[in-house]
Symmetry: C2
Subunit: 478 residues, 2 copies
């Protein structure tokens, strides 16, 4: 297969140069392209359809848990950013500023939202008056801008698409419960939709969001052993509701500040699924978000009836809810096989004159490369159950990969070796920021999360050797 060789050559060797492999996959499968302004990206139709599928899955989950969507303005008065001290420190250096309209200078410069806590709190302070107005459970789908020095499509871009939930609650307990509930919504989504195993837990003080009291996160392990922070859920306490003077009259007749949360995931998730599932042939898309779940390749299209049959099968599958496409282009079947392997379609269905005679077709799985013969009579149920099987297999592979790449370490020698061998490290930490920083300085691995299961894996801090009671993961991270 000369075709095949040539095709594979176009994507860099993932074991030799993982970053280049990633870039090749993103560009050559037409998920995204570079925008004209440094650090921006264009999300092309094939990539955007994955995002739409992610949106639909998550949006349904948000609504089932009682949230409604709203839309807040893109442009925020600069003065708002200054109201919460940690928040401004975290975001001020990287915000894009609108200073002029046409030739006219504005009286106050405006921030292109890097996140919407400030403007949303301002509006909440106008809307919330009584305990009857709580809880407020609002989510926003939007674009945000953060000027990053080093950028890569999906992983870190000057502008990205995301959702940000912002909720207010009467009690601290209720707000904490919301924080953890949404983290669990994310985790379940990662497992059951993206087929990615994640580690969830709490961030250290150093790694938490600017302005939050507690940040929880899910960390996904990429095939190069690095971690990708895939989503976060923050408990703010009353930091922002105090700064923005959000007050409600409680049942006891006193004015109080409500407790607040926010939580978000972004187009970064597309980066996560590329690097958690891909292989040397290119993308391997989880079936539940794949734009094309089953691609139909007609064989010997010049023979009468082949193309008609292909479209007929497509119609049957479409009616069963399968996202299906017939590739009727002029290229050879071999070329198309390679193209769709690179583009990661979970199932390839081949149909030729002899198949039609026998009332069957060939199904090729992207995940295992296995081929099987299927009867056309019950093609819908076969394809639907195969999609589930592929999903389950991809998730099991992801889980096995994560489990195989977590090393329990009790000292810096072990930790350094494990990190250099592209693993996550599970270890004990005394809790002091100096030790955390020292690990990073020595290995460039940062603390990821402290898992909810805090069963000790030792009793001394991996760095200072003093008594330690915190179980924590370290990894190099995107």
């Amino acid at each position: 297969m000369a075709d095949n060789k040539q095709f594979v050559k176009e994507i860099a060797d993932m074991s030799a140069d993982f970053p280049q492999w990633y870039t090749d996959v993103v560009l050559k499968t037409e998920l995204a392209d570079y925008g004209p302004v440094k650090g921006t990206m264009v999300i092309r139709p094939y990539g955007y359809e994955i995002w739409e599928n992610i949106q639909h899955s998550l949006d349904r989950r948000f609504k089932e848990t009682g949230h409604k969507n709203a839309y807040f303005p893109l442009l925020i008065p600069y003065s708002y950013l200054l109201k919460e001290a940690e928040h401004v420190e975290g975001f001020a250096p990287e915000v894009a500023l609108v200073t002029h309209v046409g030739d006219t200078e504005l009286e106050e410069k405006l921030v292109v939202r890097p996140t919407s806590e400030t403007i949303i709190c301002e509006m909440y302070s106008r809307w919330v008056h009584s305990y009857r107005d709580l809880p407020v459970l609002i989510n926003q789908w939007a674009n945000v801008v953060r000027w990053e020095k080093t950028t890569r499509p999906f992983l870190r871009t000057s502008e990205f698409l995301w959702q940000e939930g912002h909720t207010l609650h009467i009690t601290s307990e209720e707000a904490k419960e919301e924080t953890l509930k949404m983290l669990e919504v994310y985790r379940e989504f990662m497992q059951n939709v993206l087929a990615i195993e994640v580690l969830v837990g709490r961030k250290s003080e150093k790694e938490k969001f600017a302005g939050a009291q507690e940040t929880y996160a899910m960390e996904a392990m990429m095939l190069d052993g690095k971690s990708l922070q895939a989503g976060t859920s923050h408990f703010f306490g009353r930091n922002f509701s105090d700064a923005f003077d959000i007050k409600f009259l409680d049942k006891d007749g006193t004015l109080k500040n409500p407790y607040q949360t926010s939580w978000g995931v972004s187009t970064r998730l597309i980066g996560a699924l590329i690097m958690a599932h891909g292989d040397q042939r290119g993308l391997k898309l989880p079936p539940r978000v794949a734009p094309v779940q089953c691609v139909i390749i007609p064989i010997a299209t010049h023979k009468a009836g082949v193309l008609d049959k292909a479209y007929e099968i497509a119609e049957v599958l479409k009616n069963a809810g399968v996202r299906v496409e017939v590739d009727a282009r002029e290229q050879s079947p071999g070329w198309k096989f390679n193209e769709w392997e690179m583009k990661g379609a979970p199932i390839r269905l081949e149909i030729g004159p002899r198949d039609i005679e026998n009332g069957q077709c060939v199904l090729a799985r992207r995940d295992t490369q296995e081929k099987s013969t299927a009867l056309l009579a019950d093609i819908s149920s076969t394809v639907l159950s195969l999609l589930d099987e592929i999903h389950n297999n991809m998730y099991e592979q992801s889980k096995a990969f994560v489990n195989n790449h977590i090393k329990i370490c009790s000292n810096m020698d072990e930790l350094t070796t494990a990190i250099n061998e592209q693993n996550f490290v599970k270890t004990m930490w005394c809790g002091c920021p100096e030790c955390e920083a020292a690990v990073k300085a020595a290995t460039s691995a940062s603390s990821r999360v402290m898992p909810f299961d805090q069963t000790p894996v030792g009793d001394t801090c991996v760095y200072c050797g003093k008594k330690a009671d915190k179980v924590i993961y370290f990894a190099r991270a995107y």
Copy 2:
């Protein structure tokens, strides 16, 4: 009904002060609120859900006509704006400019997109090489920023949400066909989803989009007799593909510029449905986009079984695909009746102890205020067919209103009277921009569209009295 009077009083008299009525309805039904930066708006959950329903309806139509969604960057190099002469003239005065990131001044200032022709053409020039790459049929859902002097929620805001389709074609005929096809998609959507009659046709030179060769539009008549341009579809010819050097190798071996279209509708449609359907009680939402199609008001909730029955009916309706809500708040039924009339829910379902005994409930229509009794046994089919009936009635009302408010005029006296009496004017125009401008100067009515049906309604220009062959609508406009 003291309650009722007090409620109604909160909304300004629509016959005496239509603009204030509009503002009251928008704010009091919590569709939107003013944002902190002048001219911006916050779309609150009740308003955003209407937008989501509009999006779903349109997005399905775009996909059925072969379009795919993509996402292009918000920030555009200023130099791009300069490439098409009419385009820069049209947009430069009202664009928001990013000049700094944090404390650092950018080398080139960036435009916050007012529309995306320029950046999309830049990307198309990189992607399109051969006739095989055409047509390109891409749509984008996005926010855009245009600094407007006079703003009103939904109608004209510094930032708004919209969709913009941008397509490329080999031939002029194919591009013109696309332009008209998408105009027809919009018109059909207005009729079958928003229940609004629109006038469609071609814009005059003066009213067309900056950079377009031809602009087509649909104009909706508001209850005050003013026109709202509700959507546009542009044929660009090769203006932009030439300016941005988009070239494809045609079958004949020569390099050519493709022909281009763009088309868009925005959150302005929410303004349209408020002002096309509302009444003194508030909103009257078209069923197919209403966030709550049927609100259930339990009567005598302290009686055993009432609330349970209300939720049971809600579950039945929800499973039948009805957007339903039980209003179980502590207020009186009368208060809730008024609240939901103001909020425009198409059907109110009342259920009390005696209804339950009789296996029935009361249905009240928002459009006609009629009440009827319905059997609980087949409540789903009754509600579903009533929703269709309400839709049809609202559309027929809209059509009748438009037909009653189009006056055929043959001179300026007639035209001035008709405009002052809150009508659209259908008349003849010689085609010269001076006559068009003179009509506007004299009456503040602008030319809206030249309808496709050009059956003459006279033979001389309404302004200059010279021979005229163009049928055109004039109206005051938002």
